[in-house]
Symmetry: C2
Subunit: 133 residues, 2 copies
DNA sequence: CTAAGTGTATCAATACATTTAATACACTTA
DNA sequence: TAAGTGTATTAAATGTATTGATACACTTAG
């Protein structure tokens, strides 16, 4: 399900946190579904269980998962986190657009890119198309 | 001109690189203008000259500045770097928009944000307004 | 109940990158 | 010549990540 990138300068535990954070926020993993056990994921990634434990404890502290001793770790259903993720994603767009404007990229280019990504050619609201998540 | 953020987890030298990179790419610093000397900037930021030296050598290696022994470090004029920066900024926008779409944000919201940032209400090309860099 | 699988908590040791500190040397300019 | 510049080197201190090895408590399956 996930992989470690040794070219990535970030710590291993942080990479694990990041991967699962995305999987959960993008609702690839359903609420209450079980994560791999500390030891099994450690085996799979060929790293020590301690590192996985650290990743899981961070995920739990941030509210992405909940832990049941003796049973395992499970995806928590947290609507506020999902909503926070949405607003964060919009902020990211704004930040990127600001940066693009600051280097002189014309508005037209940006608009074209947005339209292309959303697959439409009009500015209508009813752009409810199928999403290839 | 620049500042160190000790809450930032990244290394000091990398922060210095990042700040000057932006100043140069956004053309706040003109080509051939002189950067602070290794020792003076170290004094100003209350860190060791070694760290500044490392930052400057990275900036030079990447082509953002050039060095003259005994004289100092100067901003280099590198059009390809500026162009690369523009395309990178556009890529950043696309990446952010993709992420926004993937969490269900409607196209309309994105378009409104872009229009607001560019200060216009129309979709015309001639949106050559003054930029508050 | 027992065994296996689970999370949790420690500790020691190692490895690595960052940063500091202290020099020393070569070059340029006033 | 003196002061300011970049450059190079070495040593030490620091923080963090990671590993390895245990040990303990809990839950589930048999």
């Amino acid at each position: 399900m996930i992989a470690i990138d040794y070219k990535d300068r970030r710590p291993l535990y942080e990479q694990v946190v990041e991967r699962y954070r995305e999987l959960i926020l993008n609702q690839v993993l359903e609420p209450d579904s079980k994560l791999p056990s500390v030891r099994s994921l450690a085996m799979e990634l060929s790293i020590t269980p301690n590192t996985i434990q650290r990743a899981y404890s961070e995920l739990e502290k941030a509210g992405y998962i909940y832990t049941v001793k003796g049973r395992g770790n499970f995806v928590s259903s947290n609507d506020s986190l999902l909503e926070l993720n949405r607003t964060q994603k919009l902020e990211d767009v704004k930040t990127a657009v600001h940066a693009a404007k600051s280097v002189g990229l014309p508005q037209k280019i940006i608009l074209e890119a947005v339209e292309f990504i959303y697959g439409g050619a009009t500015y209508d609201t009813n752009s409810e198309r199928q999403q290839t998540v």
